[in-house]
Amino acid sequence: MSQLLEVKGLKKSFDVTRGLIKRKKQYLHAVNDVSFSVQKGEVLGIVGESGCGKSTLGNLIIQLLEPTEGEIIFDGVDLRKLPPEQLRKKREDIQMVFQDPFSSLNPRKRVFDIIAEPLKTHGSYNKVELEHEVLQLMDVVGLNRSYLNRYPHEFSGGQRQRIGIARAIALKPKLIICDEPVSALDVSIQSQILNLLKKLQKELQLTYIFIAHGLPAVKHVSDRIAVMYLGKIVELTTKENLFTNPMHPYTEGLLSAIPIPDPTARKDERRLLEGDIPNPVNPPTGCAFHTRCPYKTELCERVEPEFTEKRDGHFTACHHPLKEGKGIISQHEKY
């Protein structure tokens, strides 16, 4: 496998200074020194709760937001150094599937126009070819061909998301960023869309960055998973490692907080994470997680842990990484 994307020391701060008189500059470090890489054909899941910066990260990679610092090396070139017109052309290689299928489709455009737009922007097709392409894309994502001339409001959320996916894969991009693609959908539809995304990834050899607020959605599609907390990646490893041997206490907390659809396994005894997610404008000193961490020591309050490889291919930023076997799936279970 070769490397498709490398993110190095990426930072994004928003100026959140308020008020006219007390002008003390305040910054929200939404993404704070994040580095990782994505291989061709891989699915990297990014998980975290609100305010962790996962969506900002996605928007930075796809260049909807301008990073404050850092490099985004995609396919060998630093996207930040590309002149605007070249960047515009490069965009056909990175596409996005959005969270809210009601806002991501222009209500005044027909399905045909929506799916055809990327093709028209980057290719030259005549009318017949264009229609042929669009119909094929509709087949691929499981949309009935007769919907070609309908408007988005005539569709349910799941079908709209299929339209959005067809638009995203139209240009056969090298990388697709899925920004919480199922969190706005009904349960029975979520699995349809997850299966579709997974099928497309296999068949078209796509690379995904799959952003979600919970582990259940990413578990199904990801190869590796990065866990974010307050603008930083706190743990990054393979899916199997994360679920069987998490190293960061926050990952452990995330795992144990997921309600299990089995009433015989009610977790009255389970340890839950205490407290709230701190305000990202004033993150805690030292390790940002120490305010909620059950294992914190005096060191954690003072010194920020470094994000390093603790075991083979298993990165974490923690002074006291957990022992093996703290996950919710036992090591002996087959996967």
């Binding site: 349960v187 299966n195 679920f243």
Partner: protein, 328 residues
Amino acid sequence: MNDILLEVKQLKTYFFTEDGIVPAVDDVSFNIHKGETVAIVGESGSGKSVTSLSIMRLIEEPGKIVGGEINFEGINLNKVPRMKMREIRGNRIAMVFQEPLTSLNPVFTVGNQLAESIKLHQKKSKKEAREIGIEMLRKVGIARPDKVYDQYPHALSGGMRQRVMIAMALSCSPKLLIADEPTTALDVTIQAQILRLMRDLIKELDTSILLITHDLGVVAEMADTVVVMYGGQVVEKADVFTLFKEPKHPYTKGLMDSSPKIHEWNEELVSIPGTVPSPFEFPIGCKFADRCPHVMNKCKEEIPSLIEIRKGQEVRCWLHSEKVVDLE
């Protein structure tokens, strides 16, 4: 059992829209016993929220309760005069909504809003209301409640706001708490805290809960009895252990199979084909017919009735119309 707190009998709530009549809730019946937690599970369009709003008599035009009874502590809420209903609402029955930010008024402090309901329903003075309010905030696990009492909602996090909402709802020790997707807008770690809080509080206050949710995980954590709704109808009803062990309705099974299993490895998620039809496009027979893997001719023609297939488990499905038939 005689300790029935709420009895919903053949409830029908229809919406009379320009394009036709939508039977949002069509012949729904269930009971809630004292201290029991009943969960209504369903997806959008299943009628679960309309059911809860009907109980609260909060259905607005063009919706109307067209039939059935809602008996709460022996009174038919459907026949209660408006003034009396207002007294019951908030006092005997309280509600917690999905989005805590929109259900709190941004221009009043937390304390203001908390005290308002206490003063209104318990006839307390301002000072007493403050004390009770702060005590409630402490009960729902808010650190420094006296400080939060004087803060405005926007200064609080989502989880804190939902705690405040729960404090408000429980401040008058209602007999029934209707929680409509109370944790859907919250982060997982906060959701777990809130669910545990609700469970502890109802034990302490002896309150019954009607929990509206789409999340089977939440159901498994919280409920004693589960009502599964689809297309405005109850398709299955059982105690939580039976339901998760032996779901009988194909829709219930589909829901269970399609929710990601976080505690085991599985490659392909099973999903229910198709989408929930628009209100005007439901099949004539069983509402689930065109998405059902076991569909038979009969299903397309006639709506099955809800039948008790064993003690405590009722199913609305032709596969189970004769008690002896087993699905497998």
